[in-house]
Amino acid sequence: MSDDRRHRRKPTPGEFEDPLSNYDPVSYEDDLERSLAEDPATEIESRPFVAISANTSIRDAIAEMDEKNIAAMVITQNDIPVGILSERDILTRVAHRFSDIADEPVSRVMTADPVCICETDSPARALNLMSVGSFRHMPVVDVDGKLTGVIGARRITAYLQKHFGEITRV
C-alpha cells in the first residue's frame, strides 16, 4: 500500500502524527465475514446450558445429559469451569467400562481444564479454537472466568444458517 493512501497528508519531519491516522479500517467482503470477525462470541447462542459439580456421579451425569438431550455439560467450581463432559468423553472413557465406574465421580472421566472462549471474543476465534483443539463444545466465560454459556455444534450451525436465511431454501 502506498504512503499516499495511508496518509491524507504526509507529515512534515518532526511534526506530531496521530498514530490512529494510519489506521485503515478492515473491510469485509460480506456481512458473514464481518460478524465472524467483529461480533462477540455471544452472537452464537450459548444458553441454556447445564453445569454440574465434580462430585456428581457418572451415572447421574449421563442420565441428565440424556434427559435434557444435551451433548455436553460443564463441571464447575464456584462458577469457574474446571471440566467438561461430552458425548466424546462418554465414548472414549466410559462406554467400555460403564458398569465398573458408573458410581464414580464425574471428575474421573471429564476433560479437565477445558479451553474456554471469553464472551467478548469473536465467533471466528471460537471456531478457530474449536478447529485447532478438535472440540465440539466450548464453555463461554465472562471477564472473571465465570461460566456464562456453552457454544456447541448445533448452535454454530444455527448461527451460520441465520446469515444465509432464504438462500438456503432455494
Binding site: 456481512d31 449421563i62 465414548l91 472414549t92 478457530n128 478447529s131
Partner: protein, 156 residues
C-alpha cells in the same frame, strides 16, 4: 469472492471429509463402540452388501443406551440404529449441508456418491474447519489457552 459466496458456491469436496466407518447390521453394539473409539469418530454407518446406508449409530444413541439400558450394548446394532439416514451427495454445496444439518438437527451426515454408496462422513466439524481456515491468518496465531480470565485487571 468472500466467505459468504464461497459457502454458497463451493462443493463438499472442499471440506475435510472423514472416512466413513461402515458396519454390518448384525454387528454387536459394543464392538461398534470400540471401533468408533479406536477411529475417534462419532458415528458409524450401517450399510447393506452394496455399501448403501441402512442406518446410523452415533454417540447420542450410545448415551441413551447407557442412561436407560446398559445391557443393550450386547445387542445387534440394527436394533438401536436410526433407520432414516440423511445423506448428501458429494457434489452438493456447503450451504446445502448447513441447511440440512440445521433442518434435521444433525451432527453427522453421510456423504454418498452418484451410485448412492456411502463414501464419507461429514458434519459440523468440517464446516468449522472450513470457516476457521478462512480466518487462519488473523485468528490462528492466537495461543490456545485454557485460562483466559484476566488475573489482574489493568486500566479502567
Amino acid at each position: 469472492m468472500g466467505l459468504f459466496d464461497n459457502i454458497i458456491s463451493e462443493q463438499l469436496a472442499q471440506l475435510s471429509l472423514r472416512g466413513v466407518l461402515k458396519v454390518d447390521a448384525n454387528a454387536i453394539v459394543r464392538d461398534v463402540v470400540d471401533q468408533m473409539k479406536t477411529r475417534s469418530i462419532g458415528a458409524a454407518i450401517i450399510v447393506d452388501q452394496d455399501d448403501k446406508p441402512l442406518g446410523m449409530f452415533n454417540e447420542k444413541i450410545l448415551l441413551r443406551l447407557l442412561a436407560t439400558s446398559p445391557q443393550s450394548l450386547d445387542d445387534n446394532v440394527e436394533s438401536h440404529m436410526t433407520r432414516s439416514v440423511v445423506c448428501i451427495n458429494e457434489n452438493e454445496s456447503i450451504v446445502t449441508l448447513i441447511r440440512i444439518m440445521q433442518d434435521h438437527k444433525l451432527r453427522w451426515i453421510c456423504v454418498v456418491d452418484d451410485q448412492g454408496k456411502a463414501s464419507a462422513l461429514t458434519g459440523l466439524r468440517g464446516v468449522i474447519e472450513y470457516v476457521s481456515d478462512y480466518f487462519a491468518r488473523s485468528v490462528a496465531v492466537q495461543p490456545l489457552e485454557s485460562r483466559i480470565a484476566i488475573q489482574q485487571k489493568e486500566g479502567a
